[in-house]
């Protein structure tokens, strides 16, 4: 079995400003495969909380569009997760 690759998977950091925006994330989690980094499940997402999640390349555009549409504050913490996975081994020798 080949290892899972994360080419162009993105990690979003969003901060819902109110309950309506928190609901948007809940809805996105129902319709997309979001890997929550912080908090660890959708159940803990609340207004004014910083939320980090990973999303595949395929789902990124629709997520980004939904965040834009709801005027949610967000940033893309990681643009290409696979690149970061390879970059974590940055010590050549001890």
């Amino acid at each position: 079995r080949a290892p899972v690759r994360f080419d162009r998977h993105k990690v979003f950091r969003v901060k819902p400003q109110d309950e309506t925006q928190a609901e948007v994330i809940t809805h996105l989690a129902k319709t997309n495969e979001l890997d929550f980094w912080y908090p660890d499940t959708i159940h803990h997402v609340a207004a004014n909380m910083t939320v980090d999640f990973r999303v595949s390349e395929k789902e990124s555009p629709s997520i980004q569009a939904a965040l834009d549409q709801s005027k949610m504050h967000y940033e893309v913490l990681i643009h290409d997760l696979q690149e970061e996975i390879e970059k974590q081994f940055d010590v050549k020798e001890d």
């Binding site: 290892p3 929550f36 912080y38 499940t41 081994f89 010590v91 020798e93």
Partner: protein, 308 residues
């Protein structure tokens, strides 16, 4: 040969096993390896006991790598063992600690998951247990302890990342750790568990917003621990009870150990706060471990002096 182990790099499971053997051979008077159980995939669960053989000593139990993808956590446990043994006889505080107490260090709690995160899926979190009527794999070991197990909103769907298992201690890893701690309860005065991501120093409770009876003392220790963490590289750690500081959880090892009677239980969420997340570069392992060491030494000193 599994290849060369390095404290400045992430080490796969084979290297960690070989390293445990090496530590015992190198310092037999101070390090011993105890097999406390095995995993569903039949990998051994090893605890390293650091300290000299004396009965009736206080002890601290530490575990790392309960969540597979949090790689800096096992790196810290290895760093701790190395520093403790290396600085014995040279560093005044560590010498005093090891002269008077023992440390039980479980360098990788979720061995199967850790191996999976190295070989198949870097983002894997749970263990690798199979479930009836589901093709989804794995249980979140930090939801599998008998502390208000299954009570939070964490789904009972095995496909979810926080699936708590079929029952408290349903997982071999959880049962092995719980049995070991129960059988050494007389000596274990503190329980420390190391996670990564978000830079926090947490204490009970996670399953309720109620504060523990010795809240003020835990808060004081955590405050100074957080100050120690920031003293070297100015890494900002926040501290407090799990439920209000991070988010509510049920079935956590920290709450379980506390309710078992270990009155000093702390969870470290190590670096970083989101820039790298679970992919902390190896070049940050050393600073992370160095600052964490300061907090652990402070807590250990406090336990030695104050825990009864």
């Amino acid at each position: 040969s599994p290849g060369r182990h390095s404290y400045a790099k992430y080490n796969n499971w084979d290297k960690i096993v070989a390293w445990t053997e090496k530590m015992v051979k190198k310092r037999p008077e101070m390090v011993s390896r105890i097999k406390i159980g095995s995993t569903i995939e039949d990998n051994p669960l090893y605890v390293l006991k650091i300290g000299k053989e004396h009965k009736g000593r206080k002890a601290i139990f530490m575990d790392c790598g309960i969540h597979a993808r949090e790689w800096v956590s096992p790196a810290f446990c290895q760093w701790f063992v190395y520093q403790a043994t290396k600085s014995y006889g040279k560093n005044k505080i560590m010498t005093k600690l090891l002269d008077q107490m023992n440390f039980y260090v479980l360098p990788v709690f979720n061995v199967d998951g850790y191996i999976w995160s190295w070989t198949q899926n870097r983002m894997w979190r749970k263990n690798r247990s199979k479930h009836h009527n589901s093709t989804c794999i794995g249980t979140d070991l930090n939801r599998n302890f008998d502390a208000s197990w299954g009570a939070s909103q964490s789904s009972h769907n095995p496909c979810k990342e926080t699936y708590p298992g079929t029952a408290p201690e349903s997982e071999k890893e959880t049962a092995a750790v719980a049995d070991f701690i129960r059988s050494h309860l007389e000596s274990i005065k503190a329980y420390l568990t190391f996670h990564s991501y978000s830079q926090m120093l947490l204490f009970p409770y996670g399953y309720t917003s109620k504060l523990p009876p010795n809240y003020q003392e835990l808060d004081k220790v955590a405050k100074i621990g957080a100050e120690a963490l920031s003293s070297r590289y100015e890494a900002h750690y926040i501290y407090g009870p799990i439920a209000s500081t991070i988010y509510p959880t049920s079935g956590s090892s920290l709450d379980w150990a506390y309710e078992l009677g270990i009155k000093y239980t702390f969870a470290f969420e190590l670096r970083d706060r989101g820039k790298f997340g679970f992919l902390l570069p190896e070049s940050r392992i050393k600073p992370t471990c160095k600052e964490t060491m300061l907090a652990v030494k402070f807590i250990a000193k406090y336990i030695l002096r104050n825990a009864s």
